[in-house]
Symmetry: none
DNA sequence: CATGAATGAGGGTTCATTCAT
DNA sequence: AATGAATGAACCCTCATTCAT
């Protein structure tokens, strides 16, 4: 999606913005002054590298979504079994969500980036980039499951991917509203999610 | 959550705000002038009924989420079979999402209401209200499925609810990113979602 | 200055305004809502009797200055000796000043009424009304002093009046900035003022 | 009271505000737009140097009171005789008062600065600063009078200072309401004031 | 008469953006 | 290249005034 390398200043701006978001700042309310201070550069410098505040924030988010997806992919690949891979991905997504500002929940709602920030980026050219990336990770997991014969390969690709998406969403729904499930602990919720995934794919 | 009745002007403001959102306005960028114009009242009048812009928008959203959930519930109850109820709910949620500004996706991310609008509402007192409401609808569907013996009752309540949430999320994921699935039509996606639900609960 | 009688509502407004001022409200910041509430009448009613907020406040002030001057005059006349009359007037002015909102200091700065409230009143017609009134009280005091032979009658009228004005101002200066004179008590300051008056008129 | 130096822009704001006041603008009604225009700077720039309109106005007034008192002091010191010093101070005060917006009458009513502008300044820390400054000038005059043996040194310091304050107030009362004294010319009023001063201190 | 709901002009303040240094 | 002082458009909100009831 964004292929070129970024200059030191650009990355400083990205990191400054993410720092602000991680500290609980509302992305629609952060100011250029705050960004500049957080990035340890002058306010005018932001405009030497970005043509508007919206662009800077949009690019910072996309940059981080990409980075986070890449990280998730690497760590999932590194796990050996189907079960470990699945538990890894839901743990990573959970971490991301709990990190106050979830780049990855933005990834699934990336339309917001365009609509809310009113800044076009390249989503027009490659609108499903993030989804595609995520689904490639899902594929890796499914392939492992088939290899391990834990799940069958008797459904369409769409069905399989959708099943992973569904079971993950189920777990993330629990995480996002844990207070609604006082009797359910994390372990159990993970097990339920895994069980549902297998049932769907058997 | 909000139990009292609203005055004519309050509802005009709510409707004005929803109209703006439906027309694609960014909720973080709409101005009091726009709200007043859209509601056909004077700017000052907004402040006779709400103490701030944030309050007006927050309340408009909550009001509409409640209304939309109630509508969904009524329409789902009205359907006769397990299958019809399930297809009804995913169709209604789809409609809501496609309406440009989805109150119900806000319902599942209602924390935003607090955090982004910085306005407390009553979510503090009853934070899981919307989720609880939605899950009561899921329960109705599950009960029907059990009654029809299409699904079994051999899993925990949490498992059952979570299964509905998962399979719905799966379908909504398709809807939200249809452009990523050029070969999949709506009918098929619905069928997949339904099949996954049944598999999880068998 | 204002000769006609005032209706019940008009006096309610006057009293409402004075109440607000006595409670420390800034006269340039009180609102019509506050005035109406303080006067226990509807906001619209204020405009049935006054053509603007400025007029209401101006008239309230003038009304009260007149009332206060009349009170001072009566109480000064009632005192029997030169000394008692002088001590009476400075005590009354002191009370007025210490009452948070001094109508009488406004009287000597009545230009403010016009300039600050931008409302013409009748000061154009009778600009020195208050001053003249106050000086008639000073005259009464002087006459008594001459009668008692405590002071002589060998200076011009202007000189005599000016002497009273000066010695009173001297005392009020002390009252207004008592914190600057930690070692001077009220009694002593009054005695000094009286002594200065006599010296000027001997 | 305010010891630090002011930047060019700060002084521009001060001068802009004073210009507005000298032109008869009500200090409670001047707007930030007017201030900015009068100071030849942008509206936003005011807020780079002052945190609110009230602060800007309060500081402008205090700054000018200080400057004016310092000027008065210098010019009074420069005069050689008791009589010249006294005539100098009343002339300077007269000028100040006639300048439409009298900083020095504010000095004697400096509580207004706090109360009316609702802005704290340092008056809390040093409430009598202006009064003390003025009285130090009065002292200079008195000392000269004693040196010249025109007045005696047989009264308390408070009495002496109070006498100067009184006689000055007497003259300023004439100036402020000249229309009430159609037969009295300025020269005569000054002579009366001077005579009263001497009588009080003999 | 009396009211207070409704209005919208106008105010203080913020902040994205520019540009001289 | 980097800065931050300066700007002014645009926002939220207040409140004097009106007018239908």
């Amino acid at each position: 999606m964004i292929y070129r390398r970024f200059s030191e200043k650009e990355e400083a701006v990205f990191e400054g913005i993410m720092e602000l978001l991680r500290n609980g700042n509302n992305p629609y309310k952060i100011t250029v002054s705050e960004i500049a201070k957080s990035a340890n550069i002058g306010k005018g410098t932001v405009y030497d590298y970005f043509s508007s505040k919206e662009e800077a924030i949009s690019m910072a988010l996309i940059y981080n979504i990409q980075k986070d997806i890449a990280t998730v992919k690497n760590l999932v690949i590194r796990e050996n079994t189907f079960r470990d891979k699945y538990f890894k991905i839901i743990s990573l997504l959970q971490e991301n969500i709990e990190n106050k500002y979830s780049t990855l929940s933005l990834a699934t709602n990336y339309k917001e980036l365009d609509e809310i920030f009113n800044h076009d980026l390249d989503t027009k050219r490659d609108p499903g980039f993030f989804i595609t990336e995520l689904e490639s990770i899902f594929s890796i997991i499914i392939d492992k499951g088939i290899e391990e014969k834990i799940i069958y390969d008797n459904e369409t690709k769409y069905y399989q991917i959708s099943a992973v998406r569904s079971s993950i969403s189920g777990y993330l729904g629990y995480i996002s509203h844990r207070e609604c499930f006082p009797n359910i602990d994390e372990e159990y919720a993970k097990d339920v999610s895994y069980k549902q995934l297998i049932k769907m794919l058997k």
